[in-house]
Structure formats: structure tokens, C-alpha cells
């Protein structure tokens, strides 16, 4: 599903490059740098803690740092997938963190207030209710952007600011603690040893990839992002497409919010999903999708999300003091973004050109 993401007609792919080896093509894939950065981070962690890459298969579930990273990355992956499509239409959604908080709040408050808080049926009703709220919020965002034509960054800023207020209204400003196996199962449960959160994220990834790559939808999304006016004239119903992606990202955010709530068995209106919108945008950018819209990479976003989650773990694992951990994070992110910059990559490539065969072989 990812190979379609590196079509041979990359803008910078000139005639001579097309004839280059497959290795060269791989080196020039937008995915290679984020993957390398992730591998480098994992290597650093392995040096600090030799058992870092070990996955323990013996228990009733997989365990180990890598499994924790995959599980903790799931909410970010979900939101990142939605964000990728929104960004591909030349939009952005800043409200996902608030939507996630609302989803957790609605679900937990419903469970806490029901006569049978531990029952699976209660959880199913609560989670459906929460996701329905998120769809409504997505419809609102989509309406503002596609019908009223408000710029996405402004349209979604409304909900980003007001959304946590709504979540606090739902929870009455309290951290609502619940004990429900199904809700916590979504975050910490496991099926056939694999964490449920990872399976859910994979399922959404698979579904999204299928819909956008095996139908024309992906192409239409890109068309809308590249030139909304031209695509409208060509008969693409851009309004419907834009509306749909905002509903989709809100739904993803809702699912992520349920996972975040399930992870600690509590809805924390203030902190659940705080700044996750920025992490999601970062994941999309690290993954090689341009904020200017158009071509997008779902696989890139997943790698970006894994990178960000691994970075957070690295800070703790290396024992970097709390006072300096933002600096560390900043340096790592800047490094990856620099590598992603076409100018920097071009400069690097030019320097390598004289020794192309050697460099290509070594890479």
C-alpha cells in the first residue's frame, strides 16, 4: 500500500535518475529519512538500555519497550491519519486535542452516571455516544470550512479553544475516574498477545489506505488540495470531500480520546490529548506530506507518529533531566525537519554527485 506513495514521477526525478538503481530510488523516497531517524533513535536507546529492542513473548501478552511505544503511539497514529487527509486537502485541524478530550469526557461521564458502570453494554453505549458527539463536532468544522469558506486554521481554532471548555462542562471540571473493562481494554487490553490499541490503529490505517488508494477518493483528495478551483471545474465535488475529511479526523480524534481515557481509566478534560494536534501535524510533516496540500503519505505519518512517541520515551530512557528535555526534543525534531527540506537534500545530493556510485552503494 505504501509503494504507490513513491510514484516514479516525483517532481525532482529527472531523466537520469529514472534510470538509477532501485537502491537509489529507495534512497530518494520521502520515507527513507524519517525511517532512518526512527532507526537512529532506537539505536541510541539500545545503547543506553541493551534490552530495549527485546519483545517478551512469554507472558499472556507481548511486553517490552517497543510494545509500549506502539501502544502509546496508537492515539497519535489515529489522529495523524485523519490529519494527513485534512492536510492533503490544503486544510488543517487544530481542534483534534479538544475533540479527544470531549470524547473521553462524554464516555467517562456516561459510564460513571449509569446504573451499571462495569458492564460492557454501558461502555459500548458510552463509546458510541462519544463518537457520535465527535462526528457532530467534525460536521461543525467541515461546515465552517467547506460551506462558509472560513480558513481551516481559524475555523478549527474555535473548537480548539472552546472544546476543552465543553469537556470541562461535561465533567464538571473534575477528573472523572471509571472502572470499565471495555473502555480500559481499548487502551491496555490485548487480543492474541497484541495490544488492542495497536490493532485498532492498524485497522484504521488499513481501511484508510484501502479507501484512498484502491478507490479514486485519494486522487480526488489530492486534486482538491492541489487546486480546488480546477478540480471543481473538472467535476470533483470538493465541498463534500472537504466536509468528509473533517468528519473523519474528528472520528479518529474521538477514538484516540477514548484510548487516552481508557489508558488511565479517567477523563481529564484539561490534559487529555493536550497539544496532540501539534504532535499530529508534526507527524504528518515528518512523514513527508506537504502542508501546502496535495500528495500525501499515510505510511510517512505512521513513521512520524512512531518517531515522536519514541522521542518521548528516549528522554526518559536516557535519563535526560526534566529541565532540558524540551531542548533535546527540539534538536531532534529540527534535525529531522532539516533533512526533510528539499533545499538541504538537494545540497547534500549535489555534494555527493561526484562520487555517486560510491555514495549510492554505501547508502
Amino acid at each position: 500500500m505504501t509503494d504507490t506513495l513513491t510514484p516514479p514521477d516525483l517532481p525532482e526525478a529527472t531523466e537520469p535518475e529514472r534510470r538509477a538503481s532501485r537502491l537509489e530510488t529507495a534512497r530518494r523516497s520521502p520515507l527513507v529519512w524519517p525511517v532512518l531517524a526512527l532507526v537512529l533513535l532506537l539505536a541510541v536507546n539500545t545503547v543506553a538500555t541493551p534490552t530495549f529492542l527485546l519483545v517478551d513473548l512469554s507472558g499472556d501478552r507481548l511486553s517490552g519497550p517497543l510494545v509500549n511505544i506502539a501502544r502509546n503511539a496508537a492515539p497519535l497514529v489515529l489522529i495523524g491519519l485523519g490529519m494527513t487527509l485534512v492536510i492533503a486537502t490544503r486544510g488543517i485541524d487544530l481542534s483534534v486535542g479538544a475533540v479527544a478530550a470531549i470524547a473521553g469526557a462524554v464516555a467517562c461521564v456516561h459510564i460513571a452516571g449509569s446504573p451499571d458502570p462495569g458492564a460492557a453494554s454501558t461502555a459500548v453505549v458510552a463509546m458510541s455516544l462519544a463518537l457520535a458527539c465527535c462526528v457532530a463536532l467534525g460536521l461543525w468544522n467541515g461546515f465552517l470550512v467547506s460551506v462558509l469558506g472560513i480558513q481551516p486554521i481559524i475555523a478549527t481554532l474555535v473548537l480548539m479553544t472552546a472544546g476543552r471548555g465543553l469537556a470541562m462542562l461535561v465533567t464538571d471540571g473534575q477528573i472523572t475516574t471509571v472502572t470499565n473493562g471495555v473502555l480500559s481494554g481499548l487502551a491496555v487490553g490485548h487480543v492474541a498477545k497484541v495490544p488492542v490499541a495497536v490493532l485498532v490503529a492498524l485497522a484504521v490505517l488499513g481501511l484508510t489506505a484501502f479507501v484512498v488508494r484502491r478507490t479514486a477518493l485519494g486522487m480526488l483528495v489530492e486534486a482538491v488540495g492541489i487546486n480546488p478551483e480546477a478540480s471543481r471545474l473538472a467535476g470533483v465535488r470538493s465541498r463534500t470531500i472537504i466536509w468528509t475529511v473533517y468528519v473523519f479526523v474528528a472520528l479518529c480524534a474521538g477514538l484516540a480520546g477514548l484510548m487516552i481515557a481508557g489508558n488511565t481509566n479517567a477523563a481529564d478534560a484539561n490534559n487529555a490529548g493536550l497539544w496532540i494536534e501539534l504532535d499530529a501535524i508534526l507527524a504528518v510533516v515528518i512523514g513527508g506530506t506537504s502542508l501546502a496540500g496535495g500528495r500525501f503519505s499515510l505510511a510517512g505519518t505512521v513513521v512520524g507518529a512512531l518517531f515522536i512517541t519514541t522521542l518521548a520515551v528516549t528522554i526518559t530512557n536516557l535519563g535526560i533531566p526534566s529541565q532540558t528535555n524540551y531542548v533535546f526534543k527540539a534538536i531532534a525534531v529540527i534535525a529531522v525537519c532539516l533533512i526533510q527540506s528539499p533545499q538541504v537534500r538537494h545540497a547534500l545530493r549535489r555534494r555527493r554527485t561526484p562520487a555517486r556510485t560510491v555514495a549510492g552503494g554505501a547508502a
Binding site: P65, I150, V158, T161, L169, G173, N270, N271, T316, S322
Partner: protein, 335 residues
């Protein structure tokens, strides 16, 4: 075009700001006295940190309820853990000419300018719960709150007194991991300092890793997950608040260990969820940090507005809880 969207942006932000303001200012601002003036109703502007934990919520409720009971007109704002929001709120209180300003500083530094402004406007300031790091203590009337260093010392003292039970793996040393509060906040700095100063007396006790969990359950859980894989032989978790401790409990359980037995847990705060976990044996010791400052705060406010001298430092009354004490105290717990 750009101009248009800028105006739209400004309008939207204003709209959003007023919306969120509606959400948080639910205290009785309907008395209509509007500022100081000659009437005897005291108007207090209170800039809260946020609602980051159960402790903070109890603190807010106590202040709001007491204000209502005492007939004080309370203007309440929630800074959502951001210093700039708090400074904005304090400035707006100065403009509204309230009688007294109270706030819990999000972080310790950077308050001199805004406190100077309050001083010039002749509005007394009461710090609650957290202090500021300023050379000039004439900038505020009094500081009402817990002694976080002492809380850290109490936690450390209990660990030293029970060191033999705390060495779970029996290797002769007690290995502690610390979950710090928000970096730069007074409770995080002082609880670490107090704790370290006491455990220094026992060579067997050492803090092997320390990282911020931002006072949240999610933060505590994620940091603890990594500690469990990166550190060997963790005996004790020392969390700067209950919520991070509760997050650590989830992480320890997920690892197949029993919190409170395989790994001992010491926290600070004593909110209801924490006390419940203590009574259930999942936490071993909690140092109380009393959030019910409302009555003391309103008394101080009345004295300050009346121009009476007050102590520069008023410490709230606090205790500690073991598992047995938690079982007894839990039924009557207000928060």
C-alpha cells in the same frame, strides 16, 4: 484578502475566548457591586492555575464555596496551566479595581512586573498554595499555603524510617524512582529538595532515575513504563502528586507486578482517588497537602483589605496517612 482574514481571525479568537470564559466563571458574579467603591462587599480576583488534578478541583471548590458563604464577590479565572493567561487575568483584575487579588502561581519566576502593577494600583496580593521567587517580598501581602519542602521531608522521613521494609528485592539498597511535577513549579522543586535532604542521611537509599510526569496520570504512567524497562530493581516510586502515582500504579500492574508490594509507592496530596488506592494497599504512604484553603484565604483577605497586619507566611495544617489511617479517614473525606 489578508486583511479580511485577519479581522476574521481576531473576531473568532475573541468569540472563542468569551466562550471559554463563560465555561469557567461560574462563581456568583451577580451581586453587581462591580469593583471596590465604598460598599463593604469585598471583591476578590482569583487566578487559578487550572484544573489539572483532583487536588486543584477541591481547592477551587473550597475557595468558591467559602466566598459565597462569606458574601465575598469572587471573580474567578482558570489559567489552564499557562503563566501568560494568569498574568492576563491579574492585569484584568487590576483594571477592574478589585479589592484584593489572590492567585496560585503556575511557575515560580517572572511575576515581578505584574506584581509591581498591582502594588502601584494599591491592590494587595495574596499568594495561595504556591510561592513566587522574588527578591522583593513587599510585592505581596502574604503567602498562604503548604510547605512543600516539609512535605518532601515527611515523605523522605517515612522512607528512611521504614527503609528495611522498602528494600523489596533485598539487595541492600533502596532504589527510588522519582516522578517529578511540572518542571519549574514550586511543588516539584521543593518536594524534590525536601525528599533528597532527608534520604541523604541513609546511604542505602538512592534516587536512580527522575523525570517529569507533569502532575498528570497519563504522564506518570508513560514515564513509569519506561522506568520499568530502563532501570533494574526499582524498590520505591516517589511521585510528587497522587495522580502521577495512580498512573504509575497502572504501569506497574501492566508489567505484571503488584503495586504497594513489589514496588512501594509514596505520593503527596491525599485526594480521594489517591486515598482509595492507599486504603486498598496499592499506595504505601501519602503526605497530605491540604487543598481546603478557602476559609483561611477569606479570613486573610478580610484582614488585608481592612488594612490589618498579617503574617508574611501562613502554613496550612497538614498530616500524613498510612494505609490503616487511610481506611479510617476515607469515609469522611471531602475531596
Amino acid at each position: 484578502m489578508l486583511r479580511k482574514s485577519l479581522i476574521a481571525a481576531a473576531a473568532m479568537t475573541l468569540g472563542a475566548a468569551s466562550l471559554s470564559a463563560c465555561g469557567s466563571s461560574d462563581s456568583g458574579g451577580d451581586s453587581g457591586s462591580g469593583g471596590s467603591g465604598g460598599d463593604e462587599t469585598i471583591t476578590m480576583g482569583f487566578a487559578q492555575v487550572g484544573a489539572e488534578s483532583g487536588w486543584r478541583t477541591a481547592n477551587t471548590t473550597s475557595i468558591q464555596d467559602t466566598a459565597e458563604a462569606e458574601g465575598i464577590d469572587l471573580k474567578f479565572s482558570d489559567a489552564q496551566q499557562k503563566q501568560e493567561n494568569q498574568i492576563k487575568a491579574i492585569r484584568s483584575y487590576i483594571q477592574q479595581k478589585v479589592d484584593v487579588i489572590a492567585f496560585s502561581p503556575v511557575v515560580e519566576t517572572g511575576w515581578d512586573t505584574v506584581l509591581q502593577e498591582a502594588k502601584r494600583a494599591n491592590i494587595p496580593v495574596i499568594l495561595t498554595d504556591r510561592s513566587v521567587d522574588s527578591e522583593d517580598d513587599s510585592l505581596y501581602a502574604t503567602f498562604l499555603g503548604s510547605d512543600f519542602v516539609e512535605e518532601g521531608e515527611k515523605a523522605g522521613q517515612w522512607l528512611v524510617d521504614n527503609a528495611s521494609d522498602m528494600d523489596v528485592d533485598g539487595d541492600g539498597s533502596v532504589k527510588v524512582v522519582q516522578l517529578e511535577g511540572t518542571t519549574g513549579s514550586a511543588p516539584a522543586i521543593d518536594r524534590e529538595e525536601g525528599f533528597n535532604s532527608v534520604i541523604g542521611s541513609d546511604d542505602a537509599i538512592e534516587v536512580i532515575a527522575s523525570q517529569t510526569g507533569d502532575f498528570t496520570r497519563d504522564g506518570g504512567k508513560k514515564v513509569m513504563e519506561t522506568f520499568l524497562s530502563s532501570e533494574d530493581g526499582i524498590d520505591v516510586v516517589y511521585a510528587h502528586n497522587d495522580d502521577m502515582g495512580l498512573g504509575a500504579i497502572e504501569a506497574i500492574k501492566a508489567e505484571g507486578l503488584t503495586p504497594g508490594e513489589d514496588i512501594k509507592i509514596i505520593t503527596v496530596d491525599a485526594v480521594k482517588d489517591g486515598m482509595t488506592a492507599l486504603a486498598n494497599g496499592e499506595i504505601n504512604f501519602i503526605v497530605e497537602c491540604n487543598p481546603l484553603l478557602g476559609p483561611q484565604l477569606m479570613d486573610l483577605a478580610k484582614q488585608v483589605v481592612a488594612g490589618e497586619e498579617v503574617e508574611k507566611r501562613v502554613v496550612t495544617e497538614e498530616t500524613t496517612f498510612t494505609q490503616e489511617q487511610a481506611k479510617e479517614a476515607l469515609p469522611d473525606r471531602q475531596y
